[in-house]
């Protein structure tokens, strides 16, 4: 995860791609990761499907349901990742709801993440207050627990959460669930400025980012972008090349 800091220090912007593990079959995952790595993304978030993804909009929920229908589980995804023999040059991040982790066992989860080469974990329904459930185990195995902040995070909480942040901070750009959005509000820009001024680690904007306009608008106030639904949809429609311009809009130093 140190790479992310270096990137920021160089003034470069990060692009984090979210994919749903096993959408279209678990055997697809490896190819998707290799493709994204080659395209030049900064890191990849691998989503674990869950029966009740309340933080997600329809695109990711449906992808999750397809993956569940394929029999994909947290265990299988971690085993698959552990088996990879190609060179992984970028951080891989697991995004999962809390219940599969509890069911798997938090300690065992941390151990398996390390074995699978996972750099960080995002658990959207594990609020800061309850992180002792999983955090200490991850710490022991050197896996980072990513903190999320949102437009509704109060000032005091923001300070506490940022104090504990490692790797990067996931700054949620919408008051809502994941999914493609047309507009980003002015309020978001102010929010990003605030978070960035206080955060000890890079700040990445996510939820709803799907257009180059979003990136242009927020570019100067964040250190990177997380793109989910747009990529999940593109993979599902077999049109992943369509995402290239979005990736380049972020990773190229002087976008045209």
């Amino acid at each position: 995860m140190k790479r992310l800091k270096d990137l920021k220090d160089n003034g470069d912007k990060a692009f984090v791609a979210y994919i749903m593990a096993g959408d279209g079959g678990l055997d697809k995952l490896r190819g998707q990761v290799e493709y994204l790595q080659k395209t030049g993304v900064t890191a990849i978030e691998i989503g674990i499907p869950f029966s009740d993804p309340v933080a997600d909009g329809p695109v990711i929920e449906e992808a999750g349901n397809r993956a569940l229908a394929e029999g994909v589980t947290l265990d299988k995804v971690l085993l698959e990742m552990k088996s990879w023999d190609f060179k992984i040059k970028i951080p891989l991040i697991v995004m999962t709801y809390l219940n599969p982790v509890i069911s798997y066992g938090a300690e065992r989860f941390a151990e398996s993440c390390r074995e699978a080469g996972v750099s960080a974990v995002i658990i959207p329904d594990l609020p800061f207050e309850h992180q002792q459930l999983v955090g200490p185990y991850l710490k022991k195995t050197g896996v980072t627990l990513i903190q999320l902040v949102t437009l509704t995070t109060t000032e005091n909480r923001l300070e506490d959460i940022l104090d504990a942040a490692e790797g990067f901070v996931y700054a949620v750009t919408v008051t809502g669930i994941t999914g493609v959005r047309d507009e980003m509000t002015q309020e978001v820009q102010e929010f990003m400025k605030t978070v960035r001024s206080k955060s000890p680690v890079p700040v990445y904007a996510g939820f709803g980012i799907s257009k180059t306009e979003h990136i242009e608008m927020l570019r100067d106030d964040v250190d990177g972008f997380i793109v989910g639904s747009a990529i999940v949809k593109a993979f599902h429609d077999n049109k992943i090349e369509d995402i290239d311009p979005l990736i380049h809009a972020v990773t190229q130093r002087n976008p045209v």
Partner: protein
């Protein structure tokens, strides 16, 4: 619920014991219990803010009363002499006027009192007020006095207070000599008196949850960060509203004037006879406006939402009872209302869907997953995340992130509190067994909560076994589930070995949920409440039983409790008492009954 006043306090130790009471009395009139203003002030300091401090006077000078009000300070004044109306009007706090009632003439005097409250007592012997003799309650039967103004005193103790409450349903009961041993206050007797009237009052005040919203290991606030602010705001707003007398008064006013409470505790003579075991009583939540207990909670939360400045409400519903209750209260209070309901539930609860629409609510059909309650909660949560700044999520059961499980329990506890007073009034003792059905667990926790501290009372929660707990089609979360997190709380779930939540099944839409409220999981964990499961078929059979024997067609959910009660009753004796919470009436289930019970009619 009837309030408790402990009168004649003199020692700090006894003030402490009285801190779970609603009111404490200090006697400034000549009496062996007399205290000085300074003593009373020191005692008052031992008591929580919420305990009303009452000064008792007999024909005192106004200045003396005013000085005590100021210095103790007193929050109420109780007058036992020949004080005039003018004197009463000069007192800046609420006034209780006491009357020694010997005959009908005395009752007439009492009816004319302009005081905020009237206290009835048996005639004194040694001094006026606080005779310790039992007053003839029959005298008050025909009196035109609002029970909400009535305080009963005179010879009460832990044994007879139930009868006083049962026959007069007063605002408050006042005890003094009944909690003394050899002329001195007795801390144990004070506590036991309070407990008899109010249930375990420590439980009342805080329940089994701790400050962070956990019941033992269960509960918590497992929600996306976007919701944390709303959840914390709600927590703070509820904590404040809970102790605000105006809020409580408002809530109780709606329960009384709009819902039609208090609901009877009906003695079920034919059921008792048919089962040949205990005396069976039915708590009649089916008589509530809109047909089930759900409205007790909907009113409380809607009032809280308004207090928080939110005029938009989102809710989920399974059987549609909560949806109807929410839509009803939104119509009444002019709130915008969106209800999420699974497509499958919409199909089986057509009538309720139409009721919601008629009431002006927007009903959103949820087609995802099993298209039942769990999926409706998911969609309601998503809607809340997106509209959190101006919308309150009015959850329908004792589920979800803290403070919902606590708050819903508190709003539903009116069921158990009424039941407690009623059974004490009718039988002079607590029941042996209480049963209630458990979906998310709101009617059950509301019924159980005021009895949790009474170890002699066996509490049984009844889940849906669907087609059988050994099949894949049931909703018996406590019987078959494992620990996990769903919809904001650490609780028990029906889930597979990978932590994917499974679909529940029950013929009853209101029990068709794969989780159960965290407090129930805790109560099971500590062994305080037993949980049993009843199949679709058994529940349907009980629908017929209750309909034919008592003329009460229950909701399918409630029929689960009846079915388990029949089994429980088989092992009980005729000197025992069993209470069933009839959580709702069967109107909404008529289509199902017509289909499944065809040929019977």
């Amino acid at each position: 619920m009837t309030k408790v006043k402990i009168c004649g306090l003199q020692e700090a130790e006894h003030a402490k014991a009285a801190s779970a009471a609603d009111a404490a009395g200090f006697v400034f009139a000549p009496s062996r219990r007399r205290v000085t203003v300074e003593q009373a002030a020191r005692l008052a300091a031992e008591l929580p803010e919420s305990v009303v401090k009452i000064g008792v006077f007999v024909n005192a000078e106004l200045d003396e009363v005013l000085e005590a009000v100021r210095k103790v300070p007193l929050t109420m004044v109780q007058l036992h002499g020949d004080e005039t109306d003018e004197f009463i009007r000069s007192i800046p706090v609420e006034v209780i006027q006491a009357f020694s009632v010997r005959d009908i003439e005395d009752v007439k005097k009492l009816e004319q009192s302009i005081a905020d409250y009237v206290l009835v007592d048996a005639p004194g012997i040694d001094f006026r007020g606080g005779s310790g003799r039992i007053f003839d309650w029959g005298l008050l039967k025909g009196a035109s006095i609002d029970p909400e103004r009535l305080i009963v005193a005179g010879g009460l103790d832990a044994v007879n207070v139930g009868q006083a409450i049962g026959s007069l349903a007063p605002y408050m009961v006042d005890v003094s000599s009944g909690v003394e041993t050899e002329g001195k206050k007795d801390a144990d007797k004070i506590k036991s008196f309070i407990k008899t009237v109010k249930g375990d009052s420590m439980q009342q005040a805080t329940g089994t949850e701790n400050v962070t919203g956990f019941f033992g290991r269960f509960g918590g606030q497992f929600v996306p960060e976007t919701l944390m602010k709303a959840v914390k705001e709600l927590e703070a707003a509820y904590a404040e509203a809970k102790d605000d007398a105006d809020f409580q008064a408002d809530y109780h006013k709606y329960l009384k004037e709009y819902v039609g409470r208090e609901q009877p505790l009906t003695y079920a003579a034919r059921l008792t006879e048919a089962w040949g075991g205990p005396k069976v009583y039915l708590k009649r939540e089916d008589l509530n406006h809109t047909g089930a207990h759900k409205i007790n909670n909907a009113i409380g939360q809607a009032l809280l939402a308004i207090r928080m400045g939110k005029r938009k409400i989102v809710a989920e519903t399974g059987a549609g009872q909560h949806g109807v209750a929410t839509a009803t209260i939104c119509a009444l209070l002019d709130l915008e209302c969106v209800i999420f309901m699974g497509e499958e539930d919409i199909r089986r609860q057509q009538l309720n869907v139409f009721r919601m629409k008629l009431l002006g609510a927007k009903v959103e059909s949820v087609t995802k997953g099993s298209a039942t309650l769990k999926d409706a909660v998911n969609e309601a949560l998503r809607y809340w995340v997106t509209n959190v700044e101006d919308t309150h999520y009015l959850i329908g059961s004792a589920l979800g992130p803290h403070p919902f499980p606590t708050m819903v329990r508190d709003f539903q506890s009116v069921i158990g509190r009424e039941t407690r007073g009623q059974i004490l009034g009718k039988e002079g003792r607590l029941p042996d067994v209480i049963l209630a059905c458990v979906g998310g667990g709101s009617n059950a926790i509301g019924m159980f909560h005021p009895f949790v501290g009474d170890e002699s009372v066996r509490l049984i929660g009844v889940e849906a076994a669907g087609e059988g707990v050994d099949t894949a089609r049931h909703a018996a979360t406590l019987t078959k589930g494992t620990e996990g997190v769903l919809h904001g709380a650490y609780m028990k779930l029906l889930q597979d070995e990978n932590g994917q939540v499974q679909e529940a099944h029950s013929i009853s839409a209101g029990l068709d949920y794969p989780g159960v409220g965290p407090e129930h999981v805790h109560l099971e964990d500590i062994g305080r409440v037993e949980y049993k499961a009843v199949t679709d078929e058994e529940a349907l059979a009980s629908v017929i039983t209750l309909s034919r024997l008592e003329g009460i067609i229950p909701a399918l959910e409630s029929a689960h409790a009846v079915a388990e009660a029949e089994k429980t009753a088989a092992a009980m004796g005729s000197d025992e008492i069993l209470i069933i919470c009839v959580s709702g009436r069967g109107d909404k289930d008529m289509a199902t009954y017509a289909e499944k019970l065809e040929g019977l009619a």
